[in-house]
Amino acid sequence: MTGNPDATDFRDPQLARRILARIHEVSQTPIRLMEVCGTHTMSIFRSGIRSLVPETVSLLSGPGCPVCVTDQGEIDAFVQLAQNEDVIVATFGDLIRVPGSDSSLQKERASGRDIRIVYSTLDALDIARKTPEKQVVFLGIGFETTAPTVAASILAADAMGLKNYAVLSAHKRVVPALFALMETPGVCIDGFILPGHVSVIIGADAYRPLFDRFQIPCALAGFEPVDILSAVRLLAECIESGAPQLANAYGRAVTAEGNPKALAVMDQVFQTEDAAWRGLGIIPESGLAIRPEFGRFNARNVFSLNIPDTPPPKGCICGDILRGVKTPPECALFGTRCTPISPVGPCMVSSEGTCAAYYRYQLS
């Protein structure tokens, strides 16, 4: 058995340079490629790929940073929950600094509210078990990558008979967002670099309806420089030859049907619902709501939460950036009023946000 290739093979500088040479050779017409996933965005910036591809290739960052697409109203609801003295909020670290309309989880934590950064939902369950006198609420954000583990935590809480654990689900599905994006006027995308982690769960076939409908070249990609460059090369070749493809360039991790166990757990706990996305508005069937039979674990029920319909901060063009219509330097706030230490919009503060990536990594 030769085993799986080591990730370092996909960082091989010589191989990367050969693929880059091929991209330079193939790419003639200007093309706009969108990397959907925030982890891709960071990998592209951190490896300096943007400084290496030909001028004909524009790389746009899409709506794939979980924090960035979370609606302002949902962020405000997270903060409201944290202000409840009977609640311990458990969250992944990314959400801590995201500005709500009046406060942030970070500010609430500094004022003494009980907000715990956890590494997995198991930690949140553990907190609930150890502090029965408090209600523990896990803030469920993210795509199909994280939704199965959150679903599993609800099943585990049910099995353990935990009465003080709930989830505020703001989970979202990737494919409906891509449909919405393609149907949005003014959006101009010639090809998609499709997410790696999400696709491990949902499988390559999940993108078939999108591909069939729009005949847009798509390449599923891993996160190493060679993975991403291979996807760019594939897309450039497809576009130049006029023969669109849905290609799986991350075959070492992604199968056609995805991870059936994870999908089953997700389906058992969640049902789809229309959901509000920052910058994209309401997208049909794009959210994951907790099914009524698990209603006692749904923070919206437990706390009778009404998610406020809050407009995004004035002047913030996160929406245009998430659609790939504008780039961060085109925002009047970028680098002046909006910086990573004093962010106006989530794209500047999230570790996977496009504005943060431009601010931190891009040479002007």
Binding site: F45, R50, S51, G93, A110, Y119, I341, R360
Partner: protein
């Protein structure tokens, strides 16, 4: 959103820490010695040049693989003095102990301090102890201050880093920060990462013996190599160019960083240094470092340049370039 209270980001060693010090603390006490904002103060007393430094330790957990808060507190101040080019002489010790703290643990910590002080060749010559009510401090906080003597002809400061200087890093990045982080409650996987906490004064003494004209020394503690290089670039008004494939990171450390979404460039080190040295003496310094146990893996990771003053730019292994900015706030584990 500006905050009107202190947050943990103000203690991260990144931009907000910098703003707190440069914007709120330093202006109030403004004087020529403080305003250099090096790792310690340097001044002359009756003709002798002295370095004076202080550091406070609040690490959680207080015991971690490779050390504990005690040896960390000795090595930290010893290293701050060494980074001024000084030979550390005497340290003070301040203990803030939470009511209920086990006596046995205190003895263990103090013994480690004694051992670390002996290893570094410094004496603890004065001290203070306070006990606070349960909950008013987290187990044990330690402050150490120290003074050291600077030899004639030695003038080490961030301001002296000059265009053309090769930049040496003494060994692997992020060992301490990741070793401590993976010990915290809530991280449900086991690793064998070990902190690099160690005193560096012995190696620095040898480095200065072969090259008294070392321009800059810094130990990249909080904020990591990335933030420290930014501080030097700003202080000396130079550009810095580093090469990603020359940055040493242990495989296990890199793996955990990747899993949690941490960049090793911003993770704390407690036994490593960065040196900016005159180009014609880099080989001599490098050889000296490599022959010392603390600098076996010393490598030139980049150089000071005249382009992009105040900025640190990194060349990636595939030949791309990107900025290495100063850390904005504490690094937080990501979602996926």
């Amino acid at each position: 959103m500006a905050t009107d209270v202190i947050t943990l980001d103000h203690g991260s060693g990144g931009k907000l820490s910098h703003q707190l010090i440069a914007g709120t603390v330093a202006p109030l006490f403004d004087n020529p010695i403080l305003s250099r904002l090096d790792d310690g103060a340097v001044f002359a007393v009756d003709g002798a040049r002295l370095a004076f430094s202080t550091d406070t330790f609040v690490v959680d957990p207080i015991f971690f693989p490779g050390g504990n808060i005690g040896d960390l507190a000795i090595n930290g101040t010893v290293n701050d003095l060494a980074m001024c080019g000084a030979e550390p002489l005497y340290l003070s010790l301040g203990l803030i102990i939470e009511e209920g703290f086990p006596f046995g643990d205190l003895k263990r910590v103090l013994q480690s301090m004694r051992d670390a002080a002996d290893a570094a060749g410094v004496g603890i010559v004065t001290g203070d102890t306070k006990v606070v009510p349960k909950g008013a401090a987290d187990k044990l906080f330690i402050n150490t201050s120290g003074i050291g003597r600077i030899r004639k002809g030695v003038n080490v400061s961030a301001h002296r880093a000059a265009v053309g200087d090769p930049i040496i890093l003494s060994g692997s990045m992020a060992d301490h920060g990741m070793a401590v982080l993976t010990q915290r409650e809530g991280l449900a996987f086991e690793t064998d990462l070990v902190s690099d906490t160690a005193s560096l004064n012995g190696m620095v003494e040898q480095m200065l013996a072969v090259c008294p004209d070392i321009h800059t020394l810094r130990d990249p503690t909080r904020g990591g190599v990335g933030s420290t290089l930014n501080e030097i670039a700003a202080a000396a008004r130079i550009g810095i160019r580093i090469y990603e494939d020359r940055l040493p990171v242990k495989k296990a450390v890199a793996g955990v960083c990747e899993l949690l979404g941490f960049d090793p460039l911003y993770v704390a080190n407690e036994g490593k240094l960065l040196a900016f040295v005159p180009e014609d003496q880099v080989q001599a310094v490098l050889e000296t470092m490599r022959s010392h146990p603390r600098g076996k893996e010393a490598a030139v990771i980049g150089q000071a340049v005249s382009d992009h003053p105040g900025r640190v730019v990194m060349e990636t292994p595939i030949g791309g370039t990107r900025i290495v900015d100063m850390l904005a706030g504490e690094q937080l584990p990501r979602i996926c």
